[in-house]
Protein backbone atom coordinates (compact mmCIF):
# COMPACT_ATOMS: atom_id res chain seq x y z
CA UNK A 1 0.00 0.00 0.00
CA UNK A 2 1.24 3.43 -0.89
CA UNK A 3 1.77 5.69 2.06
CA UNK A 4 -0.11 8.92 1.72
CA UNK A 5 2.06 12.00 1.64
CA UNK A 6 1.83 14.46 4.51
CA UNK A 7 0.34 17.29 2.46
CA UNK A 8 -2.28 15.07 0.91
CA UNK A 9 -3.29 13.78 4.30
CA UNK A 10 -3.55 17.27 5.70
CA UNK A 11 -5.77 18.27 2.77
CA UNK A 12 -7.99 15.25 3.26
CA UNK A 13 -8.32 15.92 6.96
CA UNK A 14 -9.15 19.57 6.54
CA UNK A 15 -11.79 18.88 3.89
CA UNK A 16 -13.30 16.34 6.22
CA UNK A 17 -13.32 18.81 9.10
CA UNK A 18 -14.85 21.48 6.90
CA UNK A 19 -17.67 19.23 5.70
CA UNK A 20 -18.38 18.03 9.19
CA UNK A 21 -18.42 21.64 10.37
CA UNK A 22 -20.86 22.63 7.61
CA UNK A 23 -23.18 19.75 8.44
CA UNK A 24 -23.02 20.78 12.09
CA UNK A 25 -23.79 24.43 11.33
CA UNK A 26 -26.83 23.52 9.26
CA UNK A 27 -28.05 21.11 11.92
CA UNK A 28 -27.85 23.95 14.45
CA UNK A 29 -29.69 26.20 12.01
CA UNK A 30 -32.54 23.69 11.97
CA UNK A 31 -32.67 23.09 15.69
CA UNK A 32 -32.36 26.73 16.78
CA UNK A 33 -35.71 28.06 15.53
CA UNK A 34 -37.39 24.97 16.92
CA UNK A 35 -36.01 25.58 20.39
CA UNK A 36 -36.63 29.28 20.00
CA UNK A 37 -40.32 28.76 19.22
CA UNK A 38 -40.68 26.32 22.08
CA UNK A 39 -38.95 28.69 24.47
CA UNK A 40 -41.06 31.58 23.28
CA UNK A 41 -44.30 29.66 23.73
CA UNK A 42 -43.26 28.60 27.22
CA UNK A 43 -42.29 32.17 28.16
CA UNK A 44 -45.44 33.79 26.79
CA UNK A 45 -47.80 31.01 27.74
CA UNK A 46 -46.82 30.09 31.26
CA UNK A 47 -48.01 33.32 33.01
CA UNK A 48 -51.62 32.60 32.05
CA UNK A 49 -51.36 28.95 33.07
CA UNK A 50 -52.91 27.72 36.27
CA UNK A 51 -54.85 24.70 37.41
CA UNK A 52 -58.16 26.46 36.76
CA UNK A 53 -57.05 27.12 33.19
CA UNK A 54 -57.66 23.42 32.58
CA UNK A 55 -60.92 23.16 34.49
CA UNK A 56 -62.85 26.34 33.76
CA UNK A 57 -64.75 27.59 30.76
CA UNK A 58 -63.68 30.71 28.86
CA UNK A 59 -64.70 34.01 30.40
CA UNK A 60 -65.70 37.15 28.49
CA UNK A 61 -63.11 39.83 27.84
CA UNK A 62 -62.00 41.56 31.00
CA UNK A 63 -63.37 38.96 33.37
CA UNK A 64 -60.36 37.45 35.18
CA UNK A 65 -59.73 33.71 35.31
CA UNK A 66 -61.38 31.36 32.90
CA UNK A 67 -59.89 28.39 31.07
CA UNK A 68 -60.05 26.10 28.11
CA UNK A 69 -61.79 23.05 29.55
CA UNK A 70 -64.29 23.03 26.68
CA UNK A 71 -61.59 23.15 24.01
CA UNK A 72 -59.53 20.49 25.75
CA UNK A 73 -62.50 18.13 25.77
CA UNK A 74 -63.45 19.18 22.25
CA UNK A 75 -59.99 18.49 20.85
CA UNK A 76 -59.85 15.09 22.51
CA UNK A 77 -63.30 14.21 21.14
CA UNK A 78 -62.74 15.39 17.57
CA UNK A 79 -59.21 14.00 17.26
CA UNK A 80 -60.32 10.76 18.93
CA UNK A 81 -63.22 10.44 16.53
CA UNK A 82 -60.89 11.23 13.63
CA UNK A 83 -58.44 8.50 14.70
CA UNK A 84 -61.26 5.98 15.08
CA UNK A 85 -62.34 6.63 11.52
CA UNK A 86 -58.90 7.07 9.96
CA UNK A 87 -56.87 4.31 11.64
CA UNK A 88 -58.62 1.27 10.15
CA UNK A 89 -58.90 2.91 6.73
CA UNK A 90 -55.33 4.17 6.71
CA UNK A 91 -53.73 0.99 8.01
CA UNK A 92 -55.67 -1.40 5.77
CA UNK A 93 -55.19 0.73 2.68
CA UNK A 94 -51.49 1.10 3.58
CA UNK A 95 -51.12 -2.68 3.85
CA UNK A 96 -52.79 -3.05 0.48
CA UNK A 97 -50.53 -0.43 -1.10
CA UNK A 98 -47.46 -2.22 0.28
CA UNK A 99 -48.54 -5.72 -0.70
CA UNK A 100 -49.95 -4.98 -4.14
CA UNK A 101 -48.07 -1.94 -5.40
CA UNK A 102 -48.32 -2.94 -9.07
CA UNK A 103 -52.03 -3.65 -9.33
CA UNK A 104 -54.21 -0.91 -10.87
CA UNK A 105 -55.89 -0.33 -7.51
CA UNK A 106 -52.53 -0.12 -5.76
CA UNK A 107 -51.22 2.43 -8.25
CA UNK A 108 -54.40 4.49 -8.00
CA UNK A 109 -54.23 4.34 -4.21
CA UNK A 110 -50.65 5.54 -4.04
CA UNK A 111 -51.25 8.31 -6.54
CA UNK A 112 -54.44 9.37 -4.80
CA UNK A 113 -52.70 9.46 -1.46
CA UNK A 114 -50.00 11.75 -2.82
CA UNK A 115 -52.57 14.10 -4.27
CA UNK A 116 -54.79 14.19 -1.19
CA UNK A 117 -51.89 14.87 1.17
CA UNK A 118 -51.11 17.95 -0.92
CA UNK A 119 -54.62 19.41 -0.57
CA UNK A 120 -54.61 22.34 1.88
CA UNK A 121 -56.54 21.59 5.03
CA UNK A 122 -58.79 24.58 4.54
CA UNK A 123 -59.97 23.04 1.29
CA UNK A 124 -60.70 19.85 3.21
CA UNK A 125 -62.70 22.03 5.59
CA UNK A 126 -64.79 23.53 2.79
CA UNK A 127 -65.28 20.08 1.31
CA UNK A 128 -66.54 18.71 4.62
CA UNK A 129 -68.69 21.81 5.04
CA UNK A 130 -70.43 21.18 1.72
CA UNK A 131 -70.63 17.47 2.22
CA UNK A 132 -71.72 17.23 5.85
CA UNK A 133 -72.50 20.56 7.44
CA UNK A 134 -74.71 22.02 4.69
CA UNK A 135 -77.02 19.00 4.27
CA UNK A 136 -77.39 18.83 8.04
CA UNK A 137 -77.71 22.63 8.31
CA UNK A 138 -75.67 22.32 11.46
CA UNK A 139 -72.04 22.64 12.58
CA UNK A 140 -71.05 19.63 14.67
CA UNK A 141 -68.24 17.81 16.45
CA UNK A 142 -68.85 14.85 14.15
CA UNK A 143 -68.10 16.89 11.05
CA UNK A 144 -64.92 18.09 12.79
CA UNK A 145 -63.86 14.52 13.49
CA UNK A 146 -64.57 13.50 9.91
CA UNK A 147 -62.55 16.31 8.41
CA UNK A 148 -59.65 15.44 10.71
CA UNK A 149 -59.85 11.86 9.48
CA UNK A 150 -59.54 13.17 5.89
CA UNK A 151 -56.30 14.79 6.95
CA UNK A 152 -55.00 11.74 8.83
CA UNK A 153 -55.79 9.01 6.30
CA UNK A 154 -53.09 9.92 3.72
CA UNK A 155 -50.43 10.19 6.42
CA UNK A 156 -51.45 6.82 7.83
CA UNK A 157 -51.50 5.15 4.41
CA UNK A 158 -48.05 6.45 3.55
CA UNK A 159 -46.36 5.52 6.81
CA UNK A 160 -48.08 2.13 6.98
CA UNK A 161 -47.02 1.35 3.43
CA UNK A 162 -43.43 2.32 4.09
CA UNK A 163 -43.23 0.45 7.39
CA UNK A 164 -44.81 -2.71 6.01
CA UNK A 165 -42.29 -2.67 3.19
CA UNK A 166 -39.48 -2.55 5.71
CA UNK A 167 -40.60 -5.85 7.22
CA UNK A 168 -38.29 -8.50 5.72
CA UNK A 169 -39.95 -10.70 3.11
CA UNK A 170 -38.58 -13.71 4.94
CA UNK A 171 -41.14 -13.16 7.71
CA UNK A 172 -43.97 -13.08 5.22
CA UNK A 173 -42.65 -16.21 3.51
CA UNK A 174 -42.29 -17.94 6.87
CA UNK A 175 -45.92 -17.38 7.73
CA UNK A 176 -47.21 -18.25 4.25
CA UNK A 177 -45.13 -21.42 4.22
CA UNK A 178 -46.94 -22.53 7.36
CA UNK A 179 -50.15 -22.26 5.42
CA UNK A 180 -51.29 -18.89 6.77
CA UNK A 181 -53.60 -16.99 4.46
CA UNK A 182 -52.43 -13.60 3.26
CA UNK A 183 -54.70 -11.60 5.57
CA UNK A 184 -53.64 -13.73 8.53
CA UNK A 185 -50.00 -13.17 7.64
CA UNK A 186 -50.58 -9.42 7.44
CA UNK A 187 -52.37 -9.19 10.75
CA UNK A 188 -50.48 -11.60 12.94
CA UNK A 189 -46.94 -11.28 11.60
CA UNK A 190 -46.36 -8.26 9.40
CA UNK A 191 -48.34 -5.58 11.23
CA UNK A 192 -46.96 -6.51 14.67
CA UNK A 193 -43.46 -6.46 13.20
CA UNK A 194 -44.13 -3.01 11.75
CA UNK A 195 -45.75 -1.73 14.94
CA UNK A 196 -43.02 0.77 15.83
CA UNK A 197 -43.44 2.45 12.49
CA UNK A 198 -47.22 2.33 12.67
CA UNK A 199 -47.16 4.09 16.02
CA UNK A 200 -44.83 6.74 14.62
CA UNK A 201 -47.23 7.22 11.72
CA UNK A 202 -50.21 7.49 14.04
CA UNK A 203 -48.38 10.05 16.17
CA UNK A 204 -47.53 12.13 13.12
CA UNK A 205 -51.14 11.99 12.00
CA UNK A 206 -52.52 12.89 15.42
CA UNK A 207 -50.05 15.73 15.89
CA UNK A 208 -51.01 17.10 12.51
CA UNK A 209 -54.75 16.78 13.12
CA UNK A 210 -54.61 18.16 16.66
CA UNK A 211 -53.08 21.36 15.33
CA UNK A 212 -55.56 22.03 12.53
CA UNK A 213 -57.56 25.25 13.00
CA UNK A 214 -58.67 26.05 9.45
CA UNK A 215 -60.98 23.09 8.77
CA UNK A 216 -62.48 23.54 12.24
CA UNK A 217 -63.83 26.95 11.22
CA UNK A 218 -66.13 25.17 8.76
CA UNK A 219 -67.03 22.10 10.79
CA UNK A 220 -66.68 22.02 14.58
CA UNK A 221 -67.13 25.79 14.54
CA UNK A 222 -66.23 26.39 18.18
CA UNK A 223 -68.42 26.69 21.24
CA UNK A 224 -67.88 28.82 24.34
CA UNK A 225 -69.64 26.25 26.51
CA UNK A 226 -68.82 22.74 27.55
CA UNK A 227 -70.29 20.30 25.06
CA UNK A 228 -70.20 16.51 25.03
CA UNK A 229 -72.81 16.06 22.34
CA UNK A 230 -71.11 15.09 19.09
CA UNK A 231 -74.03 16.50 17.10
CA UNK A 232 -73.43 20.01 18.46
CA UNK A 233 -70.69 22.52 17.63
CA UNK A 234 -67.60 22.07 19.78
CA UNK A 235 -64.51 24.06 20.73
CA UNK A 236 -61.03 22.82 19.86
CA UNK A 237 -57.60 23.98 21.00
CA UNK A 238 -56.28 25.28 17.66
CA UNK A 239 -59.53 27.05 16.96
CA UNK A 240 -59.36 28.59 20.44
CA UNK A 241 -55.84 29.80 19.70
CA UNK A 242 -57.11 31.34 16.47
CA UNK A 243 -59.96 33.14 18.23
CA UNK A 244 -57.84 34.37 21.14
CA UNK A 245 -54.85 35.39 19.03
CA UNK A 246 -56.87 37.29 16.42
CA UNK A 247 -58.70 39.27 19.08
CA UNK A 248 -57.57 42.80 19.97
CA UNK A 249 -57.35 42.07 23.72
CA UNK A 250 -54.05 41.78 25.56
CA UNK A 251 -55.58 39.37 28.07
CA UNK A 252 -56.73 36.98 25.33
CA UNK A 253 -53.32 37.07 23.66
CA UNK A 254 -51.85 35.61 26.83
CA UNK A 255 -54.50 32.94 26.78
CA UNK A 256 -53.69 32.12 23.15
CA UNK A 257 -50.06 31.50 24.12
CA UNK A 258 -51.10 29.40 27.09
CA UNK A 259 -53.45 27.33 24.90
CA UNK A 260 -50.63 26.82 22.41
CA UNK A 261 -48.39 25.63 25.21
CA UNK A 262 -51.06 23.16 26.35
CA UNK A 263 -51.51 21.86 22.80
CA UNK A 264 -47.79 21.35 22.26
CA UNK A 265 -47.39 19.66 25.63
CA UNK A 266 -50.31 17.33 24.97
CA UNK A 267 -48.91 16.20 21.63
CA UNK A 268 -45.50 15.74 23.21
CA UNK A 269 -46.93 13.69 26.10
CA UNK A 270 -48.88 11.50 23.72
CA UNK A 271 -45.77 10.95 21.67
CA UNK A 272 -43.66 10.02 24.68
CA UNK A 273 -46.33 7.67 26.03
CA UNK A 274 -46.67 5.86 22.72
CA UNK A 275 -42.92 5.49 22.41
CA UNK A 276 -42.66 4.13 25.93
CA UNK A 277 -45.32 1.54 25.13
CA UNK A 278 -43.50 0.50 21.99
CA UNK A 279 -40.18 0.40 23.82
CA UNK A 280 -41.69 -1.76 26.53
CA UNK A 281 -43.12 -4.13 23.96
CA UNK A 282 -39.96 -4.49 21.90
CA UNK A 283 -37.92 -5.07 25.05
CA UNK A 284 -40.10 -8.08 25.70
CA UNK A 285 -40.47 -9.45 22.21
CA UNK A 286 -37.39 -8.17 20.46
CA UNK A 287 -37.09 -5.94 17.48
CA UNK A 288 -36.89 -7.18 13.93
CA UNK A 289 -33.93 -9.39 13.22
Amino acid sequence: MKVMSGRRRLWRKSVNAMMLGLAGVFSILVVTPLLWILGFVVREGSPALSLTFFTELPTPVGVPGGGIANALVGSILTVGLGVLIAAPIGVLAGVYAAMHPDTPLGVALRFGTDVISGVPSIVMGIFAYTLIVLPQRHFSAVSGGIVLSFIMVPILIRTTEEMVRLVPNSLRDGALALGAAEWKTSFSVILPAALNGLVTGAMLAIARAAGEAAPMLFTAFGNPFMNLDLREPIATLPHMIFVYASSPYEDWHGKAWATALVLITLVLLLNVTARLLVWWRTRHLGNLG
Binding site: G174, L176, A177, G289
Partner: protein, 276 residues
Protein backbone atom coordinates in the same frame (compact mmCIF):
# COMPACT_ATOMS: atom_id res chain seq x y z
CA UNK B 1 -22.24 -28.50 -24.11
CA UNK B 2 -25.11 -30.29 -25.73
CA UNK B 3 -28.55 -30.21 -24.21
CA UNK B 4 -28.91 -33.18 -21.92
CA UNK B 5 -31.90 -35.37 -22.46
CA UNK B 6 -34.44 -35.20 -19.66
CA UNK B 7 -33.69 -37.80 -17.07
CA UNK B 8 -36.63 -40.09 -16.59
CA UNK B 9 -36.93 -41.50 -13.13
CA UNK B 10 -40.36 -42.93 -12.91
CA UNK B 11 -40.29 -45.96 -10.67
CA UNK B 12 -42.94 -45.73 -8.00
CA UNK B 13 -40.71 -47.45 -5.50
CA UNK B 14 -37.00 -47.58 -4.95
CA UNK B 15 -35.12 -50.75 -4.19
CA UNK B 16 -32.78 -50.21 -1.30
CA UNK B 17 -31.00 -53.29 -0.07
CA UNK B 18 -33.72 -55.87 0.49
CA UNK B 19 -36.61 -53.47 1.01
CA UNK B 20 -38.54 -51.09 -1.18
CA UNK B 21 -39.42 -47.48 -0.43
CA UNK B 22 -42.59 -45.82 -1.72
CA UNK B 23 -42.59 -42.47 -3.47
CA UNK B 24 -44.00 -39.73 -1.25
CA UNK B 25 -43.91 -36.78 -3.58
CA UNK B 26 -42.72 -36.40 -7.10
CA UNK B 27 -42.01 -33.89 -9.88
CA UNK B 28 -42.97 -35.03 -13.35
CA UNK B 29 -41.89 -33.11 -16.45
CA UNK B 30 -41.88 -30.04 -14.25
CA UNK B 31 -40.91 -26.70 -15.78
CA UNK B 32 -41.14 -23.41 -13.91
CA UNK B 33 -41.29 -20.07 -15.71
CA UNK B 34 -40.82 -16.55 -14.43
CA UNK B 35 -42.66 -14.64 -17.14
CA UNK B 36 -40.80 -15.66 -20.31
CA UNK B 37 -37.79 -17.03 -18.53
CA UNK B 38 -37.70 -20.77 -18.09
CA UNK B 39 -35.99 -21.31 -14.74
CA UNK B 40 -36.14 -25.10 -14.64
CA UNK B 41 -37.09 -27.46 -17.37
CA UNK B 42 -38.46 -30.99 -17.60
CA UNK B 43 -37.54 -32.08 -14.10
CA UNK B 44 -38.47 -35.60 -13.07
CA UNK B 45 -37.65 -36.15 -9.43
CA UNK B 46 -39.07 -38.81 -7.13
CA UNK B 47 -38.87 -38.17 -3.41
CA UNK B 48 -39.08 -41.29 -1.29
CA UNK B 49 -41.02 -41.49 1.92
CA UNK B 50 -39.11 -40.94 5.15
CA UNK B 51 -35.85 -40.47 3.32
CA UNK B 52 -33.68 -37.42 2.90
CA UNK B 53 -33.33 -36.30 -0.69
CA UNK B 54 -30.63 -33.74 -1.44
CA UNK B 55 -30.62 -31.43 -4.45
CA UNK B 56 -27.14 -30.25 -5.33
CA UNK B 57 -25.66 -28.20 -8.12
CA UNK B 58 -23.86 -24.95 -8.84
CA UNK B 59 -25.34 -21.53 -8.01
CA UNK B 60 -28.25 -20.41 -10.13
CA UNK B 61 -29.12 -23.85 -11.43
CA UNK B 62 -32.69 -23.69 -10.14
CA UNK B 63 -32.36 -25.80 -6.98
CA UNK B 64 -34.36 -23.38 -4.87
CA UNK B 65 -36.93 -22.86 -7.62
CA UNK B 66 -37.47 -26.60 -7.74
CA UNK B 67 -37.72 -26.81 -3.97
CA UNK B 68 -40.16 -23.92 -3.73
CA UNK B 69 -42.33 -25.54 -6.38
CA UNK B 70 -43.09 -28.36 -3.95
CA UNK B 71 -45.10 -26.17 -1.55
CA UNK B 72 -46.11 -23.69 -4.23
CA UNK B 73 -44.11 -20.83 -2.76
CA UNK B 74 -43.31 -19.81 -6.34
CA UNK B 75 -46.97 -18.84 -6.64
CA UNK B 76 -46.03 -15.72 -4.68
CA UNK B 77 -43.73 -14.54 -7.44
CA UNK B 78 -45.72 -12.48 -9.89
CA UNK B 79 -45.55 -13.90 -13.39
CA UNK B 80 -44.49 -17.37 -12.31
CA UNK B 81 -46.08 -20.35 -14.01
CA UNK B 82 -45.68 -24.07 -13.99
CA UNK B 83 -45.84 -26.76 -16.66
CA UNK B 84 -45.85 -30.43 -15.81
CA UNK B 85 -47.00 -31.60 -12.44
CA UNK B 86 -46.04 -32.29 -8.86
CA UNK B 87 -47.68 -35.09 -6.95
CA UNK B 88 -48.09 -35.73 -3.27
CA UNK B 89 -49.23 -39.27 -2.52
CA UNK B 90 -50.25 -39.50 -6.15
CA UNK B 91 -52.45 -36.39 -5.97
CA UNK B 92 -51.55 -33.44 -8.23
CA UNK B 93 -50.51 -30.29 -6.33
CA UNK B 94 -50.99 -27.85 -9.19
CA UNK B 95 -54.67 -28.18 -9.81
CA UNK B 96 -57.52 -25.73 -9.56
CA UNK B 97 -59.19 -28.02 -7.01
CA UNK B 98 -56.22 -27.87 -4.67
CA UNK B 99 -56.14 -25.36 -1.81
CA UNK B 100 -52.62 -23.97 -1.59
CA UNK B 101 -53.00 -23.58 2.17
CA UNK B 102 -53.57 -27.31 2.40
CA UNK B 103 -50.44 -27.96 0.33
CA UNK B 104 -48.33 -25.81 2.62
CA UNK B 105 -49.73 -27.44 5.68
CA UNK B 106 -48.70 -30.86 4.40
CA UNK B 107 -45.39 -29.66 2.97
CA UNK B 108 -43.55 -27.42 5.43
CA UNK B 109 -40.49 -25.32 4.77
CA UNK B 110 -37.32 -24.18 6.51
CA UNK B 111 -35.52 -21.24 4.94
CA UNK B 112 -31.89 -20.40 4.34
CA UNK B 113 -31.86 -17.68 6.95
CA UNK B 114 -33.63 -18.33 10.21
CA UNK B 115 -36.78 -16.23 10.17
CA UNK B 116 -38.43 -16.48 13.58
CA UNK B 117 -41.37 -14.15 14.01
CA UNK B 118 -40.86 -11.25 16.43
CA UNK B 119 -42.91 -13.16 18.98
CA UNK B 120 -42.09 -15.36 21.95
CA UNK B 121 -40.50 -18.78 21.46
CA UNK B 122 -43.79 -20.37 22.47
CA UNK B 123 -45.86 -18.25 20.08
CA UNK B 124 -43.47 -19.00 17.23
CA UNK B 125 -44.01 -22.73 17.59
CA UNK B 126 -47.72 -22.33 18.33
CA UNK B 127 -48.30 -20.12 15.29
CA UNK B 128 -49.03 -22.95 12.87
CA UNK B 129 -51.17 -25.10 15.20
CA UNK B 130 -53.24 -22.04 16.10
CA UNK B 131 -53.90 -21.45 12.40
CA UNK B 132 -55.40 -24.90 12.27
CA UNK B 133 -57.55 -24.37 15.28
CA UNK B 134 -55.56 -26.04 18.05
CA UNK B 135 -56.83 -24.07 21.04
CA UNK B 136 -54.77 -22.91 23.98
CA UNK B 137 -54.16 -24.90 27.12
CA UNK B 138 -52.54 -28.26 27.64
CA UNK B 139 -52.99 -29.64 24.10
CA UNK B 140 -51.08 -26.73 22.66
CA UNK B 141 -48.50 -26.81 25.45
CA UNK B 142 -47.86 -30.48 24.76
CA UNK B 143 -47.57 -29.88 21.03
CA UNK B 144 -45.12 -27.03 21.54
CA UNK B 145 -43.01 -29.15 23.85
CA UNK B 146 -43.06 -32.11 21.48
CA UNK B 147 -42.04 -29.96 18.52
CA UNK B 148 -39.23 -28.28 20.45
CA UNK B 149 -38.00 -31.68 21.65
CA UNK B 150 -37.99 -33.03 18.11
CA UNK B 151 -36.03 -29.99 17.02
CA UNK B 152 -33.52 -30.67 19.84
CA UNK B 153 -34.16 -27.26 21.32
CA UNK B 154 -36.36 -28.02 24.31
CA UNK B 155 -33.62 -28.30 26.94
CA UNK B 156 -32.16 -24.96 25.94
CA UNK B 157 -35.40 -22.99 25.95
CA UNK B 158 -37.77 -24.73 28.36
CA UNK B 159 -37.19 -22.07 31.04
CA UNK B 160 -37.64 -19.12 28.73
CA UNK B 161 -40.52 -20.02 26.45
CA UNK B 162 -41.95 -16.55 26.78
CA UNK B 163 -38.83 -14.73 25.74
CA UNK B 164 -38.50 -13.46 22.21
CA UNK B 165 -37.52 -15.96 19.54
CA UNK B 166 -35.06 -13.33 18.37
CA UNK B 167 -33.12 -13.55 21.62
CA UNK B 168 -31.75 -16.95 20.57
CA UNK B 169 -28.47 -17.58 18.76
CA UNK B 170 -28.46 -18.16 14.99
CA UNK B 171 -28.31 -21.94 15.28
CA UNK B 172 -31.04 -21.97 17.94
CA UNK B 173 -33.19 -19.69 15.77
CA UNK B 174 -32.90 -22.13 12.90
CA UNK B 175 -33.88 -25.03 15.15
CA UNK B 176 -36.80 -22.90 16.36
CA UNK B 177 -37.87 -22.52 12.74
CA UNK B 178 -37.63 -26.29 12.32
CA UNK B 179 -39.76 -26.74 15.44
CA UNK B 180 -42.23 -24.24 14.03
CA UNK B 181 -42.44 -26.22 10.78
CA UNK B 182 -42.77 -29.54 12.63
CA UNK B 183 -45.54 -28.22 14.86
CA UNK B 184 -48.14 -28.37 12.09
CA UNK B 185 -47.17 -32.03 11.59
CA UNK B 186 -46.40 -31.82 7.89
CA UNK B 187 -45.65 -34.89 5.84
CA UNK B 188 -42.78 -33.38 3.90
CA UNK B 189 -40.26 -30.77 5.05
CA UNK B 190 -38.40 -28.65 2.51
CA UNK B 191 -35.07 -27.23 3.61
CA UNK B 192 -33.43 -24.49 1.57
CA UNK B 193 -29.77 -24.50 2.60
CA UNK B 194 -30.80 -24.59 6.24
CA UNK B 195 -27.26 -24.45 7.59
CA UNK B 196 -25.49 -22.19 5.12
CA UNK B 197 -25.53 -19.23 7.50
CA UNK B 198 -24.45 -21.24 10.55
CA UNK B 199 -21.15 -22.15 12.17
CA UNK B 200 -19.85 -25.73 11.90
CA UNK B 201 -21.13 -26.83 15.32
CA UNK B 202 -24.64 -25.50 14.70
CA UNK B 203 -24.51 -27.08 11.24
CA UNK B 204 -23.68 -30.43 12.76
CA UNK B 205 -26.59 -30.13 15.18
CA UNK B 206 -28.97 -29.37 12.34
CA UNK B 207 -27.68 -32.38 10.41
CA UNK B 208 -28.12 -34.68 13.41
CA UNK B 209 -31.57 -33.27 13.86
CA UNK B 210 -32.45 -33.96 10.22
CA UNK B 211 -31.37 -37.53 10.71
CA UNK B 212 -33.61 -37.87 13.75
CA UNK B 213 -36.71 -36.36 12.21
CA UNK B 214 -36.33 -38.30 8.96
CA UNK B 215 -37.87 -41.22 10.85
CA UNK B 216 -41.17 -39.35 10.79
CA UNK B 217 -40.88 -36.97 7.87
CA UNK B 218 -39.84 -36.94 4.26
CA UNK B 219 -37.14 -34.32 3.77
CA UNK B 220 -35.88 -32.51 0.70
CA UNK B 221 -32.78 -30.41 1.24
CA UNK B 222 -31.13 -28.00 -1.14
CA UNK B 223 -27.48 -27.51 -0.40
CA UNK B 224 -24.34 -26.01 -1.82
CA UNK B 225 -22.30 -28.09 0.49
CA UNK B 226 -21.52 -31.45 -1.08
CA UNK B 227 -20.10 -32.92 2.10
CA UNK B 228 -23.38 -32.09 3.75
CA UNK B 229 -25.35 -33.79 1.00
CA UNK B 230 -23.09 -36.83 1.28
CA UNK B 231 -23.42 -36.92 5.08
CA UNK B 232 -27.15 -36.48 5.51
CA UNK B 233 -28.99 -37.65 2.43
CA UNK B 234 -30.17 -41.01 1.16
CA UNK B 235 -30.81 -39.83 -2.40
CA UNK B 236 -29.23 -37.04 -4.38
CA UNK B 237 -30.35 -35.15 -7.46
CA UNK B 238 -27.76 -33.20 -9.42
CA UNK B 239 -28.90 -30.07 -11.26
CA UNK B 240 -27.15 -27.95 -13.87
CA UNK B 241 -28.16 -25.21 -16.26
CA UNK B 242 -28.41 -26.04 -19.94
CA UNK B 243 -27.54 -23.81 -22.91
CA UNK B 244 -30.80 -21.92 -22.48
CA UNK B 245 -29.91 -21.12 -18.87
CA UNK B 246 -32.71 -23.35 -17.65
CA UNK B 247 -32.02 -25.72 -14.78
CA UNK B 248 -32.18 -29.43 -15.47
CA UNK B 249 -31.90 -32.47 -13.29
CA UNK B 250 -29.01 -34.27 -14.92
CA UNK B 251 -28.69 -37.21 -12.57
CA UNK B 252 -30.59 -38.78 -9.72
CA UNK B 253 -29.57 -41.77 -7.69
CA UNK B 254 -28.78 -43.04 -4.25
CA UNK B 255 -26.38 -40.61 -2.61
CA UNK B 256 -23.71 -43.28 -2.31
CA UNK B 257 -23.82 -43.87 -6.05
CA UNK B 258 -23.77 -40.17 -6.92
CA UNK B 259 -20.68 -39.61 -4.81
CA UNK B 260 -18.76 -42.77 -5.67
CA UNK B 261 -19.85 -43.84 -9.10
CA UNK B 262 -21.80 -41.13 -10.92
CA UNK B 263 -22.89 -41.90 -14.46
CA UNK B 264 -22.66 -38.34 -15.74
CA UNK B 265 -19.24 -36.82 -16.24
CA UNK B 266 -20.48 -33.40 -15.07
CA UNK B 267 -21.75 -34.87 -11.82
CA UNK B 268 -18.38 -36.48 -11.29
CA UNK B 269 -16.59 -33.20 -11.95
CA UNK B 270 -18.90 -31.38 -9.59
CA UNK B 271 -18.77 -33.80 -6.66
CA UNK B 272 -15.02 -34.12 -6.93
CA UNK B 273 -14.74 -30.35 -6.74
CA UNK B 274 -13.44 -29.77 -10.24
CA UNK B 275 -15.93 -26.93 -10.75
CA UNK B 276 -18.81 -25.16 -9.05
Amino acid sequence: MDIPAPVDVRPRVAQIGDGTVPVKTEARDLSVFYRDFKAITQVNLPVYAQKITAIIGPSGCGKSTLLRAFNRMNDLVRGSRVEGQLYLDGQPLYDSQVDVVDVRRRIGMVFQRANPFPKSIYDNVAFGPRLYGVGGGSTLDALVEKSLRQAALWDEVKDKLHQSGLSLSGGQQQRLCIARAIAVEPEVILMDEPASALDPISTLRIEELMHDIAKDYTIIIVTHNMQQAARVSDFTGMMMIDDHRAGRLIEFDQTQVIFTNPKDKRTEDYVTGRFG
